[in-house]
C-alpha cells in the first residue's frame, strides 16, 4: 500500500513539475449544471438566466475560479419531476458537472433534493420556496439561498401585528407553495398576534381562479385583514375583481412576493396600493455594490432587473466563493466550505446555516405604490433573514439527517 501511494505522489509531483506551465493555459473548466423551466415559466426564468450569465461572464473575465474557467451548462427541466430528474442525471453522468442548481416549482425542488441525496451531488435550490426543501425533505446535499416560506411569512406577520387586524382571510393557490405558505401563516398569526383568528380560506386551483366568487366569498366573511399568496394571472384577476367590488377597502392586506417586479409589472397601473408585500424595489437601491450590479445588468441586457436576476447572480457568485474556499468543486469539500460559510454578496453579508442549509438572505418588505404607469414599493426596509429562520430545535426535530 505504502509503495503505491508513494508512487502516486511521485507521479503527481512529476506531473505538476512537467505539466505546470502548459496546464496553466489549458486547465479544463469547472462545469456546473443548471436546470430550470425556461419554456413554461419564461417570465420568471429568463431574467434569472440573465442574472447567472452576468455572474458567469464577470467571473470568467476576471480569470475564473482557481485559475479555471467556470462553465455553466444549462438545461430545460420540463417543469415536471420526471423530466427534471432525467435531465439532472444527464448533466451529472454525461456532462460530468460538479454540482447542480436551479428549478422553479416547489414540488420539482423537493424531487431534486431527493435526487441530490440519492446521487450524492450538491444541489442548490434557486426558486422553490417550500420549507420542505430545507426541512422535512432536506439533506446533506441540498442548499437554498432564497428566504423560504416560513421566513417571508414571518416578516409579513410582523407587519400584521402592527396593523391591529384580528379577523384574517387567506387566499392561496392550491398547490405545495400556496398550501405551505397558508399553513405557516395560520401557525404564526396565532402564535404571534394574540386574539387573531382565521375567518375564511380560499384555495383556487393554480391558474384557474374563479375570481368573482372567490372575492365575494371572502367579502362575506367580513375579515379585517387578508393574507394573499396568489401570483401571476390568478393575482391579476383577483386584484381586478377585488378593486371593482371594493374588497380591499379599509383592510390590511399582506401579500407574499407581490412586490417582486416579475409579478408587479404585469399588473401595470392596477397595482393595489397600500398592500404590505415582500418584493424587490430595485429602482430605489442606493448601496454602491448593489447599484453596480443593477447598472451592469441594465447595460448588458437593456432591461430592468427582476428578483430572479439578483437571485441568479447571487447563486453563482456564492458558488464561486465556495469553490475558492474549498480549493475544488469536489462534493465533500464543497459541502464543508458551504456549511456555516459567510458570504459578502451584493446585498450584504449572507450566512449559510449549517444545520438546515438555508441561507440568511432576507427580503424587502414594504407597501405597494403606484408610480406613473407601473407599480413599485414604498416605505420599504430590507429585513435580514436570520431572525426569521426556523429555530435550531425545530430544525433538529424535523430533519432526518
Amino acid at each position: 500500500m505504502a509503495k503505491v501511494s508513494m508512487a502516486r505522489w511521485f507521479a503527481l509531483g512529476l506531473a505538476l513539475a512537467l505539466g505546470a506551465p502548459t496546464a496553466q493555459a489549458q486547465q479544463p473548466p469547472i462545469k456546473i449544471g443548471e436546470l430550470n423551466s425556461y419554456a413554461k415559466w419564461a417570465a420568471f426564468t429568463v431574467p434569472y438566466r440573465n442574472g447567472w450569465q452576468l455572474a458567469q461572464d464577470e467571473i470568467n473575465a476576471k480569470g475564473g475560479v482557481l485559475g479555471r474557467k467556470l462553465e455553466i451548462i444549462s438545461r430545460e427541466d420540463g417543469s415536471t419531476t420526471g423530466d427534471t430528474t432525467r435531465v439532472a442525471e444527464e448533466l451529472v453522468t454525461r456532462e460530468g458537472v460538479s454540482l447542480l442548481f436551479g428549478s422553479f416549482l416547489s414540488n420539482v425542488g423537493v424531487a431534486m433534493a431527493d435526487f441530490a441525496n440519492q446521487k450524492k451531488i450538491v444541489y442548490i435550490a434557486a426558486e422553490p420556496l417550500t420549507d420542505a426543501v430545507t426541512m422535512a425533505q432536506g439533506n446533506r446535499y441540498t442548499f437554498r439561498i432564497r428566504p423560504n416560506n416560513f421566513m417571508q411569512v414571518g416578516m409579513l406577520v410582523e407587519q400584521a401585528k402592527a396593523s391591529g387586524a384580528k379577523r384574517w382571510a387567506i387566499v392561496a393557490p392550491n398547490y405545495e407553495y400556496g398550501q405551505s405558505a397558508a399553513q405557516v401563516f395560520k401557525r404564526l398569526i396565532q402564535e404571534r398576534v394574540p386574539g387573531a383568528e382565521i375567518v375564511a380560506e380560499q384555495y383556487p386551483a393554480l391558474g384557474k381562479i374563479e375570481a368573482g366568487p372567490t372575492v365575494s366569498a371572502i367579502e362575506q366573511a367580513k375579515p379585517d385583514g387578508i393574507f394573499n399568496v396568489l401570483f401571476g394571472p390568478d393575482l391579476t384577476q383577483f386584484v381586478r375583481e377585488g378593486n371593482t367590488r371594493g374588497l380591499f377597502e379599509k383592510k390590511s392586506i399582506l401579500s407574499l412576493l407581490t412586490g417582486e417586479p416579475e409579478w408587479l409589472l404585469p399588473l401595470k397601473d392596477e397595482v393595489p396600493e397600500g398592500w404590505t408585500v415582500t418584493g424587490y424595489p430595485w429602482d430605489q437601491i442606493t448601496e454602491p455594490k448593489h447599484k453596480a450590479f443593477i447598472d451592469a445588468y441594465r447595460a448588458k441586457f437593456n432591461d430592468t432587473p427582476r428578483l430572479g436576476s439578483l437571485l441568479g447572480y447571487m447563486v453563482v457568485t456564492m458558488i464561486r466563493d465556495t469553490i475558492e474556499r474549498a480549493g475544488s468543486a469536489e462534493t465533500d469539500a464543497f459541502i464543508k466550505a458551504m456549511q456555516d460559510a459567510k458570504f459578502d454578496t451584493v446585498i450584504g453579508p449572507v450566512t449559510m446555516r449549517g444545520s438546515d442549509h438555508q441561507a440568511s438572505m432576507g427580503a424587502w418588505v414594504g407597501k405597494l405604490a403606484l408610480k406613473g404607469a407601473t407599480g413599485g414599493m414604498a416605505d420599504w426596509t430590507y429585513k435580514d433573514g436570520t431572525p426569521f429562520m426556523h429555530s435550531e430545535a425545530e430544525v433538529k426535530a424535523v430533519r432526518k439527517d
Partner: protein
C-alpha cells in the same frame, strides 16, 4: 348567508358560465361535424386572449370608446377564425382519411407549437388588457358592488347562443352542419362539398374560441397557461351537454358555473375536481350527456388491430430485438440506460393502452389513472408498510387492477367519446385525491425515497429487471390478444350487436380487458416509480394520459409493434430535443405534425402499408 350574497354569487357563476359556453360551443360544433377531438381549441382561445390584449389598447388609443372596444373583440375573433382555417387547410384536411383519433395527435402537435410561438410573438410576460370602456364602474345590486362587465358577459352567452341557433336553423350552412352532425357519410353521399363544410365549421369553431378568449381580456391577463386550463373544462361542457349539442353545452356551462361559484363556499379546495365529479355523475346517469344521441350503429371507432396469420419471421425478429436490448448494458453509459429503461416502461404503458383502443375499440383518455395507481400503490407500500420493492411492485399492480375494475364497471356501459371522457374524469378524480390527501399521499410533493432493493439498484441491473418484466407483460398481453378473449373483444369492437347475437357478453369482456390493461399499466407505473425514486400527482395527470395516447397513435393503432415503436420514438425525441433548445415544445410539436403528415397510419402502420402495396 343572506340573500344578496347568494344572488351575487350566482351572478358571478353566470358570468363564468357565459364565457365558458362561448368557448365550448365552438368545440362541440367542430366535434359534431368533423369528429375531431380538437385539443388545439384551448390554444385558439389563448391566441384570442393575447391578440385582444395587444390589439385593444392600440384601438382605444385611436379612439377611446365602446365602439372601438367591441370592434376590436370582433376583429380578434375573425383573426383567430382565420387561424382555424389555416390549421384545417394545411393540416387536418390532409389526414381526414386517417383512422379516427389520429387528428387528435395532430392537434396535440399544434398545442405544443402554439405554446412556444405565443411566447415568441407576444413575449414571456403576462399581458394585462384594458378594461371595457363604459363598463369600468361597478353597479350596486342589493347593497353589494358587482362589476358591470360581468353583467355584459352574462348577456353575451345567450346572445351567442341565439346567433348560433339562427345560423344552424336558418341558413343552408347550418342545415348542412346539422346534417353532418347526424350522419356525415350521408351528407357526403348527397354530394355536399365536404372540404368547404369542414373549413367553414373550423372557422366557426375557431371564431368562437377567439371570441371567448377576447372577452376574457377585461378580467384576465393573457398568459401562457390559458390553453390547458380551459381545454379540460371545455371537454366537460361538451360531453355533459352531449357532443355536438349547442343547447346542451349551454345548460352544462350554466350548471358548472353555479357549481363552482357555490362549491368554493363548502369545499374551498374543490375547484380541481368538481367539474369532473359532475361529468362522472352525469355520464353514469345519462350515458350520452343531456342532449346527445347514441352513435350510429356500427360506430366509427372500429379501427384497430386486424387478423393476420402470424409469421415465423415476426417471432424471430422479436427475439433478436430482445437479445439486442439485453446486450445494451455492455455498450451504453448510465444515462443512456436510464433513458432506455424509461422507454421500456412507456412501451409497456402504451401497449396496455393498445389492448383497450386497438383491440377493444375502447378509447381511454385517462389511462394515466392506472399508471399512477400502480406507481402510488408501490410508493405507498414502501412508505407505509416498509415493503421492499419485491412486495411493493405486486401491490402496485393490485392497486391498478382494483382501480381498473372499479372504473371499468362504470365505463363499459358507455361508448365512443363518452367512454373516453368518463375515463378522463376518473383519472382526474384520482389526481385530485392524490393532490388533496396530503397526509397519505404527500400532496403535490408526492412521495420520495422509493428506491429499488440493493440488488436491483445498479443502473444495469434495474434495466435488465425492467426489460424482463416489460417483455413478459407484453408477451402475456400479446397472448391475450391472440386468444379467443382478444377475438371476442375485436368482435365487440367491430359490431356490438352481432357480438352479442352470437352469445358474447360484451360488457364482461370489456370489463376484463380494463382490468388486464390496468394491471399492465400499473406494473409500468410501479417500475417507473422505482426507476426515479419518487411519485407525484403528475403521474395521474392529463399529460401522462396524452403521452400514452400520443405514443400509441404515433406508432400505429392497427399494429402490435406500433405502441412499442411509438414509445421509443417519442421518448427519444423528447430526450434529444429538450436539452438542445428552450423552444423544445415547438420542435417536438413540429416533429409530431411532420410524422402525422408523413405517416398517416402511424409509423409502423404506414411502413407496413407501403410494403403491402409494393407486394
Amino acid at each position: 348567508m343572506d340573500l344578496s350574497f347568494l344572488i351575487i354569487q350566482s351572478l358571478s357563476g353566470l358570468a363564468s358560465a357565459s364565457s365558458l359556453f362561448i368557448t365550448a360551443c365552438g368545440l362541440t360544433l367542430v366535434f359534431g361535424v368533423t369528429r375531431i377531438v380538437n385539443f388545439a381549441h384551448g390554444s385558439l382561445y389563448m391566441i384570442g386572449a393575447y391578440t385582444a390584449a395587444t390589439l385593444l389598447p392600440r384601438l382605444l388609443e385611436l379612439s377611446y370608446g365602446p365602439v372601438s372596444f367591441w370592434t376590436g373583440i370582433l376583429i380578434t375573433a375573425l383573426i383567430v377564425g382565420a387561424i382555424g382555417v389555416l390549421i384545417e387547410v394545411l393540416l387536418l384536411r390532409r389526414i381526414y382519411g386517417a383512422p379516427e383519433l389520429f387528428q387528435l395527435l395532430a392537434t396535440f402537435g399544434v398545442v405544443l407549437v402554439v405554446q412556444d410561438l405565443v411566447v415568441q410573438v407576444f413575449g414571456p410576460q403576462d399581458i394585462l388588457g384594458p378594461r371595457a370602456p363604459g363598463l369600468r364602474a361597478p353597479v350596486e345590486i342589493l347593497g353589494r358592488r358587482f362589476p358591470s362587465y360581468e353583467l355584459a358577459l352574462i348577456a353575451a352567452g345567450p346572445i351567442v347562443l341565439g346567433f348560433v341557433w339562427l345560423l344552424l336553423r336558418k341558413t343552408r350552412f347550418g342545415i348542412l352542419v346539422r346534417a353532418a352532425t347526424q350522419d356525415r357519410d350521408m351528407v357526403a353521399s348527397l354530394g355536399v362539398n365536404q372540404a368547404l363544410l369542414f373549413t367553414g365549421t373550423l372557422f366557426l369553431g375557431a371564431f368562437l374560441a377567439g371570441l371567448g378568449g377576447a372577452l376574457q381580456t377585461p378580467r384576465v391577463s393573457a398568459n401562457t397557461g390559458m390553453d390547458l386550463s380551459i381545454i379540460a373544462e371545455c371537454f366537460v361542457v361538451t360531453v355533459v351537454g352531449g357532443m355536438g349539442s349547442v343547447p346542451g353545452a349551454f345548460l352544462a356551462a350554466l350548471i358548472i358555473g353555479q357549481l363552482q361559484a357555490f362549491g368554493i363556499l363548502i369545499f374551498p379546495k374543490s375547484t380541481l375536481v368538481v367539474v369532473f365529479l359532475l361529468m362522472a355523475f352525469v355520464l353514469a346517469v345519462r350515458p350520452y350527456g343531456f342532449f346527445g344521441r347514441p352513435e350510429i350503429v356500427g360506430g366509427t371507432h372500429a379501427v384497430g388491430i386486424v387478423s393476420r396469420t402470424p409469421r415465423a419471421s415476426g417471432t424471430v425478429a422479436a427475439l433478436i430485438v430482445l437479445a439486442l436490448l439485453a446486450c445494451l448494458p455492455l455498450v451504453s453509459d448510465a444515462y443512456l440506460l436510464k433513458v432506455a429503461t424509461e422507454i421500456l416502461i412507456f412501451a409497456l404503458f402504451a401497449f396496455s393502452l393498445q389492448l383497450l383502443i386497438g383491440v377493444g375499440g375502447l378509447v381511454s383518455f385517462g389511462h394515466a389513472a392506472f399508471f399512477g395507481l400502480g406507481a402510488y400503490g408501490a410508493a405507498l407500500g414502501v412508505k407505509w408498510l416498509d415493503a421492499p420493492m419485491e412486495a411493493a411492485l405486486p401491490l402496485g399492480i393490485l392497486f391498478a387492477a382494483a382501480g381498473a375494475a372499479l372504473i371499468g364497471a362504470f365505463v363499459v356501459r358507455l361508448s365512443g367519446i363518452y367512454l373516453a371522457m368518463m375515463t378522463l374524469a376518473a383519472a382526474q378524480i384520482l389526481y385530485a385525491v392524490a393532490f388533496q390527501w396530503v397526509d397519505v399521499t404527500g400532496g403535490d410533493n408526492g412521495i420520495v425515497g422509493v428506491w429499488p432493493s440493493t440488488w436491483a439498484s445498479p443502473r444495469n441491473a434495474y434495466y435488465i429487471l425492467t426489460l424482463i418484466l416489460c417483455a413478459t407483460a407484453v408477451f402475456i398481453l400479446k397472448r391475450a390478444i391472440d386468444a379467443p378473449f382478444g377475438y371476442a373483444l375485436r368482435a365487440a369492437r367491430d359490431s356490438e350487436p352481432r357480438a352479442e347475437a352470437i352469445g358474447l357478453n360484451v360488457r364482461r369482456h370489456r370489463w376484463l380487458a380494463f382490468m388486464l390493461s390496468g394491471a399492465a399499466a400499473g406494473l409500468a407505473g410501479g417500475i417507473y416509480a422505482f426507476s426515479r425514486g419518487s411519485v407525484d400527482p403528475s403521474l395521474l395527470g392529463i399529460s401522462t394520459s396524452v403521452d400514452a395516447l400520443a405514443m400509441l397513435l404515433l406508432g400505429g393503432i392497427q399494429t402490435i409493434a406500433g405502441p412499442l415503436v411509438g414509445a421509443g420514438v417519442l421518448h427519444t425525441l423528447r430526450d434529444q430535443i429538450m436539452p438542445l433548445t428552450g423552444l423544445w415544445r415547438l420542435f417536438l410539436g413540429v416533429s409530431i405534425i411532420a410524422m402525422v403528415l408523413l405517416f398517416p397510419r402511424g409509423l409502423v402502420g404506414t411502413i407496413r402499408h407501403w410494403r403491402e402495396e409494393r407486394a
